[in-house]
């Protein structure tokens, strides 16, 4: 089922949570909405689900306007951040709930419901726990029950709000892989919200990066990591070092020196690069020439704080752990990949 979000705006008490957002989700895709808290990603998910109504704009399901359809009519599977399992129902009752509440004409017979619940339990690898109550399950198990409950109604679209947010790191990694397999097997159009970039990059076919109620960039993991389209995306995804530069004569300048990087355009700009993605040089004919002013150990590298241009700029770069750089010693380097964004005004 294709889902199309078209010029959607959502205001809460005059405060815009989403500002003219458009997004096309293709059938069978696994999409991540990624952004810091307050970026509007959960709002967008709830609008697609029909749990909130947009102030302006349309949401289309398979080309059909769903704006005025209720949550029930949209036939979506929604997995809540804190699972929202019904605490007074067993696992089996939770999973079968969506089938039990169907109108009499569409409701499968009890034996059929039981069979379907059994199948879903097998799929989420929790067979044998159908008589347990939610508070007798671990976080990861609850998460999977919530997913099975949403799947039971055979939704057209599966929506997950921070699906792994409340789990510890190890379980999170396992479930991440499990969800990817699950998606590949069932082929559902799936949208999930996360603030964890690693999760978004690893899991999603396409990542939608959001900030302050707008979509900053939509693209594959390679796109958003290697070719970020804005300073925000570059800062938010992966690690970034940045420095104020100037573009002139097809070159990048730091103050009055060229640094050996080509650039089209003119005027003030900011240069971004990844701290680990650079080459260290011995001689310097047009490169970054700096002085080490700080050093701290990361897991697999040593991060140096380097002053450029006689102390007017400061960047962070990663060097091998056994690199001999000492405080106050000079250091020359050049980023392998970089992005230059003109500074407006």
């Amino acid at each position: 089922m294709d889902v199309s979000v078209s010029h959607v705006t959502k205001e809460f008490a005059r405060f815009p949570a989403l500002n003219d957002v458009s997004l096309d989700i293709h059938s069978g895709e696994l999409i991540a909405l990624l952004g810091p808290s307050g970026s509007g990603k959960t709002t967008l998910l709830r609008l697609i689900a029909g749990l909130d109504q947009p102030t302006d704009g349309q949401i289309l399901f398979g080309g059909e306007d769903a704006s005025h359809k209720s949550v029930q009519e949209r036939n979506i599977g929604f997995v809540f951040q804190h699972y929202a399992l019904f605490r007074h129902m067993t696992v089996a009752e939770n999973i079968g709930f969506g089938l039990k509440v169907r109108p009499a004409a569409a409701r499968p017979p009890k034996t059929e419901i039981r069979r379907r619940v059994g199948e879903l339990l097998e799929m989420i690898q929790l067979s044998g726990l159908e008589k347990r109550y939610p508070n007798q399950l671990s976080g990861g198990q609850r998460q999977r029950v919530a997913l099975a409950r949403a799947m039971a109604i055979e939704p057209r679209v599966l929506l997950l709000d921070e699906p792994f947010g409340a789990l510890d790191a190890k379980v999170r990694k396992e479930l991440r892989k499990w969800l990817r397999d699950f998606h590949d097997r069932t082929g559902h159009t799936t949208v999930f919200v996360t603030h964890d970039q690693e999760e978004a990059l690893e899991l999603a076919d396409r990542v939608v990066v959001m900030s302050q109620g707008r979509i900053e960039q939509v693209g594959s993991a390679d796109d958003v990591y290697d070719r970020p389209s804005s300073p925000f995306v570059h800062r938010f995804i992966g690690e970034a070092s940045e420095v104020a530069v100037r573009m002139e004569d097809g070159e990048v300048w730091i103050d009055d020196r060229t640094v050996g990087l080509k650039a089209d355009g003119n005027g003030p700009a900011r240069l971004f690069f990844r701290p680990h993605d650079l080459e260290l040089l011995t001689g310097c004919g047009g490169c970054f020439e700096g002085v080490v002013v700080g050093s701290r150990r990361l897991a697999g590298a040593r991060r140096l704080e380097v002053e450029l241009g006689g102390g007017r700029h400061r960047v962070e770069i990663d060097v091998p752990v056994d690199h001999p750089a000492a405080m106050k010693s000079g250091l020359n380097f050049r980023p392998r990949h970089w992005r230059v964004f003109p500074v407006a005004g």
Binding site: A84, F86, H88, V101
Partner: protein, 289 residues
């Protein structure tokens, strides 16, 4: 290692007190309870049975007493279900939705708690009395509110209004709307969501509220006294009947009827404790009393 730790004497936890302090504090608390709570309760039952079980029984089945008991049960049977419905509806609206004037509505619900029951009764006298606007109109159609059962029911509903709502609002606010949204997203209708999800989530709190509401409905004196007119056998509830018997120096009968009310209080207390245990088991982290 454990042994050595166990043998270390006189290491009190910071919040603990010496034995003497404990005894004094517990003694004060205990004697206060005994004097102000247990003693009066015992007196009620002792006085009620002073002239033997036969006289006790006679005092209860005597026509005016029986009528008072019947009236009290009738009033409670009308007022409690009404406030059950009102209370659930009000709590539902306040806890699950955002709207203008919510704080004002919460204050309004508390109003019966904050004003004297006598005033609550007077309000109805002013509203439906013979000098009022509504009274004469209703009288023309043969509808009697004041000094009749409808007035007593109205006054009781007013006084007991907050019990269910007050019990449910914090509970439902605490539970949020997540479960309801989940049910809706699974295709449940509004009514199904209420029946299968909301109601089971609040059932212990609801029972608890109903119990308190009932206890107050049966025991209410002030507001009912103002609107009832004290017509024997017709508009006297149990608390009013006790007062009349007492004023007539009919102590044994007064205490016999009073003992019924006291017994009701004890049953309510026992049920409340039982419910709290269930409540605790069902809603860890919920609000306690």
């Amino acid at each position: 290692m454990t042994d050595r730790m166990l043998r270390k004497p006189h290491l009190r936890s910071p919040t603990d007190e010496t034995l003497l302090t404990k005894l004094v504090l517990i003694g004060i608390g205990g004697s206060f309870l005994a004097f102000f709570l247990f003693l009066p309760l015992i007196v009620v039952f002792v006085e009620a049975f002073r002239n033997g079980i036969g006289r006790y029984w006679d005092a209860l089945v005597e026509p005016d007493a029986a009528a008072a008991i019947r009236l009290t049960l009738t009033v409670a049977a009308i007022a409690v279900p009404l406030n059950l419905v009102f209370g659930v509806a009000a709590a539902w609206a306040i806890a699950k939705f955002e709207f203008r004037g919510k704080a004002f509505l919460i204050t309004l619900i508390d109003l019966p708690f904050s004003i004297s029951p006598v005033i609550s009764g007077l309000v109805y006298v002013l509203l439906f009395g013979s000098q009022s606007l509504l009274g004469p109109i209703l009288k023309r159609y043969g509808i009697e509110i004041l000094f009749a059962v409808p007035g007593i029911v109205l006054a009781t509903v007013f006084v007991t209004f907050p019990f269910v709502a007050r019990e449910l609002i914090p509970l439902m606010q605490d539970q949020g709307t997540g479960d309801e949204e989940a049910a809706l997203s699974l295709g449940a209708s509004g009514w199904q969501t209420f029946r299968f999800v909301t109601l089971p989530n609040i059932k212990w709190g609801l029972l608890y509220g109903v119990l308190l509401c009932n206890a107050r409905a049966m025991g209410e004196f002030g507001a009912v006294s103002v609107v009832s007119g004290h017509i024997r056998g017709l508009t006297n509830t149990m608390p009013l009947h006790v007062e009349i018997l007492y004023n007539e120096y009919n102590m044994a009968a007064a205490f016999a009827v009073a003992s019924l009310l006291a017994a009701l209080a004890l049953v309510t207390l026992a049920l409340k404790t039982l419910l709290e245990i269930r409540f605790d088991a069902g809603n860890a982290g919920g609000r306690r009393h």
